[in-house]
């Protein structure tokens, strides 16, 4: 009898060992395959906006690649600040593994970004920075670099008669400041030829308006730089409407169908575009790294590309300009 009991004990031990083995194996696999939850809050979710659509696409690609569960939120337009901040609070309540945030406001969003960090959720700042440094990593376009590309390209058209005007988007915004700074650096000493800087509050109509006013005040202007899509397109349309396209050299920033048509029409000499897809991809990649507790760079440049009429349809650029 004693022997049987020992046998039963041995059998039980084996079963137990087997069960524990399988359990551990399963558990390990479970841990490995646990999908991270990441929330991306864009400044806007707008099907017609190529920039945010591309960021969305890039983010989705990264999510697929890293096998994370990605949720993308954003207000209908970049002007809905309250809505964007409500979304941040909702995101914190969901306790995701990381949040990638494109701050809608330089000043006001800072408090909400802080709240994300206070909740212990890794924060990746996307596209633009806030009044104070916050977050584990900033994934954005190097705007100074982009502006610099505009300046160095446009310098070839500069002669002693050149007079330059700048149409910015929002006065005091970091992107406008940095792009202008880069543009000036690219022009070098020719930046003295800049006579006026106006702002359009990211509105096409206002951009046309301020450009027209600027040209009335400084009719000698023969070179204009736009600092984002609204200011670039608005300025170019104003120039075209005034019939001055042959006299005025123009350079724009960001990409849209209108900008491409204006570039094809020769109104723009060049435009500088951001790699929005890369920005979306990189922000989710960095969010994954942050959630896994890996080392992160403080700053990640998504990159910019200068497009002229000649290189619109090269293999690389057409993918950037025409994300399907």
């Amino acid at each position: 009898m004693k022997g049987y009991r020992r046998m039963a004990g041995l059998g039980l031990l084996l079963v137990l060992a087997l069960a524990i083995g399988i359990g551990v194996y399963r558990g390990k696999r479970h841990r490995e395959s646990r999908t991270l939850d990441i929330i991306l809050i864009q400044k806007a979710i707008d099907e017609t906006n190529d920039f945010w659509s591309s960021i969305h696409e890039g983010a989705k690609m990264a999510a697929r690649e890293y096998g994370v569960n990605l949720t993308v939120w954003g207000p209908g337009s970049e002007r809905e600040v309250e809505e964007a901040h409500a979304l941040i609070e909702e995101a914190i309540a969901q306790k995701p593994d990381a949040i990638a945030l494109a701050p809608i406001s330089y000043e006001e969003t800072l408090a909400y970004a802080r709240r994300i960090e206070e909740a212990g959720i890794p924060l990746i700042v996307v596209d633009s920075v806030m009044a104070e440094p916050v977050g584990r990593c900033v994934v954005a376009t190097d705007n100074v670099e982009g502006g610099y590309k505009m300046g160095t390209y446009m310098r070839q058209f500069v002669d002693e008669n050149t007079v330059i005007g700048i149409v910015g988007h929002v006065q005091g915004s970091s992107t406008a400041r940095e792009r202008e700074q880069g543009f000036r650096q690219g022009l070098g000493e020719d930046q003295e030829k800049i006579v006026d800087v106006v702002f359009c509050e990211s509105s096409f109509a206002l951009a046309r308006e301020v450009t027209r006013k600027m040209l009335e005040e400084h009719p000698e202007i023969n070179m204009i730089a736009g600092l984002n899509e609204y200011s670039s397109v608005g300025a170019a349309e104003a120039v075209r409407d005034l019939g001055l396209e042959d006299r005025i050299h123009m350079v724009g920033f960001d990409s849209s169908k209108q900008e491409i048509q204006l570039l094809e029409a020769g109104i723009f000499d060049a435009i500088v575009i951001q790699r929005a897809f890369n920005m979306g991809y990189l922000s989710i990649e960095k969010a994954v790294w942050a959630a896994r507790g890996e080392e992160l760079p403080e700053y990640e440049d998504a990159g910019t590309v200068l497009i002229t009429k000649e290189n619109i349809y090269t293999e690389e650029n057409q993918k950037l300009l025409f994300p399907f």
Binding site: E65, Y313, K319, P323
Partner: protein, 615 residues
């Protein structure tokens, strides 16, 4: 030494054969199962890889076929369009002089002249044809014919050409001209020829030749919506990390889900490896399985990429089942091993138990049943025979020993010590010389009684009264010899007088009391003989008030006087042995003694009542 050696052996550490057997079985079974597992797991892995190559090949082969059918359809359209007379007339008919009449459309042969209105009508008819084609096939994005920048029909007829584009500079236009009438398939690109539309397409273009060789350059093109290729590739599911991409003849990307990442250098793709690969598939060192399908028709390469660990996830399920099965098998096998080894070792265990019995000397339960006709069965048989033999031998030895002892005792009983006889006779002579006739008579009759009793030794048992009488005869003689030294009393209860006891047990005690107790005492000594029954036993006691014994003397009491010349020859040891032999070891002789006070010898015998009387 033996033990130490055996411990070194495999499974020698176990204390039973059964455990060793079970462990050996378990070891063997585990070994076999392990080999089975390793082989089947590897086999599964290989099979899964092979299967996924086959599966992926089928899928991407299907993609290639679908693309081929798109392209061949477009090529068919291009053939139909290029020989269409309306198209030819629209493109190549010479301008009719003004006012050639309304019959300008009716042309005598392939080439003729047509006025503006006529050409407008032709354009309208071509547009109708295009419209029909575009309406029936959603995957056609654009379709059109161009004669340089001079005239064109585009899509449904109302789309305009992008005013900033020089059609003749477009690559699909130039390549079509170079191809001399063959169809040219572009890579994926943005079609910018239509005003205000920038669609991703794959363009098929073909030069249209009029009947006259001198006709100017003219090109037909049709755009395949890139989304139809896109969705072909996207709907293929090759796991979460798997994807499909397409390369053109030169290795340029037609479709890749990470095209943007590739261009910006964030990702790389093994394009040169794919282009160089002549096999159906290859496996990269980071566990990606590339499966390749080339189309002879388009020259495109469709590549399916799968992540091997994902493929093996299904294999993992099979693995789990294998491991589980192995576990269950192991348990069942162990259970069977336990039962089997139990059955095999049970006879051995029985044998072992029975051997222990024999070791203890119990032969009655030692015989075991011979259940099996095998080595162990035969061993049991031999054991049984051996046990029987030993039992017989032992029985025989015991009988011989007993017979020997008995005969010895008889010899001892029958003897009256010659010294005693001589001393007594000497005393008689002295008494006779002194004229003490009365004393001579008493002594002589007592000696005669002694002699008679020792001669009649055919009976082993005597009545207690006889034994007492015998002892009294002895005491009488001794009392007369040690005249002033010895007194005696006999106080034996009447109810036990007729009980039988083995003879010659009382006299040696009295002899002992005289020679060791009374003899060394100054003055007179008293010997008292008591007899009574108490608590189921008969007690016979010989008390003396002699010098007594110390513990040292007591411990040697049974060894002394066996050959004592003055004793009657029957030693105490003899008495003790005979009582034990006859009545059992729990009965016998015991001594109590206090030096200077006296000694009491007690014989303890069983009281069997009437039964004892009859013997």
């Amino acid at each position: 030494m033996e033990r130490g050696k055996s411990r070194g052996r495999l499974f020698g550490g176990f204390r039973s054969v059964r455990s060793s057997m079970i462990c050996s079985f378990a070891g063997l079974i585990m070994f076999a199962l392990l080999i089975f597992l390793v082989v089947s797991l590897n086999y599964t892995q290989d099979t899964v890889l092979d299967n996924s190559v086959d599966y992926t090949s089928q899928l991407i082969g299907q993609v290639n076929e679908d693309i081929d059918s798109y392209i061949s359809y477009m090529e068919n359209i291009s053939m139909i369009v290029s020989i269409n007379s309306d198209v030819n007339n629209f493109l190549f008919a010479e301008d009719a002089p003004e006012g050639a009449g309304e019959e300008g459309l009716r042309l005598p042969s392939g080439s003729g002249s047509v006025d503006d209105v006529g050409r407008q009508r032709l354009a309208e008819q071509v547009a109708v044809m295009f419209r029909t084609l575009m309406d029936t096939r959603q995957d056609i994005t654009n379709i059109g014919i161009f004669l340089g920048n001079e005239r064109y029909v585009l899509n449904r007829g109302w789309e305009r050409v992008n005013p900033y584009v020089d059609v003749t500079q477009l690559s699909w236009y130039q390549e079509a001209l170079q191809a001399e009438g063959g169809a040219v398939i572009s890579t994926s690109h943005v079609q910018n020829v239509v005003y205000d539309s920038y669609d991703w397409v794959v363009t098929l273009s073909r030069r249209i030749r009029g009947l006259d060789k001198s006709d100017p350059d003219s090109v037909f093109f049709v755009d395949l919506n890139y989304n139809s290729i896109n969705s072909l590739c996207e709907k293929l599911h090759l796991g979460d990390k798997g994807y499909v991409f397409i390369l053109d003849k030169q290795g340029g990307l037609i479709y890749h889900p990470r095209q943007q990442l590739l261009y910006s250098g964030l990702k790389t793709e093994r394009i040169s490896e794919v282009m160089a690969c002549r096999e159906e598939s290859f496996l990269t060192e980071d566990q990606y399985l590339y499966t390749i399908s080339r189309s002879d028709y388009t020259g495109w390469t469709v590549v399916g990429v799968a992540y091997v660990p994902e493929l093996l996830e299904h294999a993992d399920e099979a693995k789990n089942i294998y491991v589980l099965m192995a576990g269950i098998l192991l348990l069942v096998a162990l259970f069977l091993a336990a039962i089997l080894s139990d059955q095999i070792t049970r006879p051995i265990k029985t044998l072992e138990g029975s051997m222990k019995e024999v070791e203890r000397g119990d032969f009655a339960h030692a015989i075991i049943r011979e259940t099996q006709d095998n080595e162990i069965g035969r061993l049991s048989g031999s054991f049984n025979r051996m046990t029987e033999q030993i039992q017989n031998l032992m029985e025989e030895t015991r009988k011989v020993q007993q017979a020997k002892r008995e005969s010895e005792l008889k010899v001892l009983q029958s003897q009256i010590n010659p010294h005693f006889l001589y001393n007594t006779l000497d005393s008689i002579i002295w008494m006779a010389e002194w004229g003490k006739n009365k004393e001579v008579v008493v002594m002589t009759s007592s000696l005669a009684k002694l002699l008679r009793q020792s001669i009649s030794n055919d009976q082993e048992l005597v009545q207690i009264s006889q034994e007492v009488a015998y002892t009294e005869s002895y005491l009488t003689i001794q009392k007369m010899r040690y005249r002033d030294k010895l007194e005696y009393e006999i106080l034996v209860k009447k109810e036990i007088r007729e009980l039988a006891v083995i003879k010659l047990i009382l006299q040696p005690l009295v002899e002992n009391a005289i020679y060791h107790g009374i003899k060394y005492k100054k003055g007179k000594g008293l010997i008292r003989i008591l007899g009574y029954r108490e608590a189921g036993c008969i007690y016979l006691k010989v008390q003396d008030d002699g010098v007594g014994m110390d513990a040292e003397t007591m411990s040697h009491i049974y060894e002394k006087h066996v050959q004592d010349t003055r004793s009657n020859g029957v030693g105490l040891r003899n008495v003790q042995e005979r009582i034990a032999l006859y009545y059992g070891p729990e009965y016998g002789l015991s001594y109590e003694s206090v030096p200077g006070v006296g000694t009491t010898a007690t014989i303890r015998l069983p009281d069997r009542g009437e039964e004892q009387r009859n013997i």
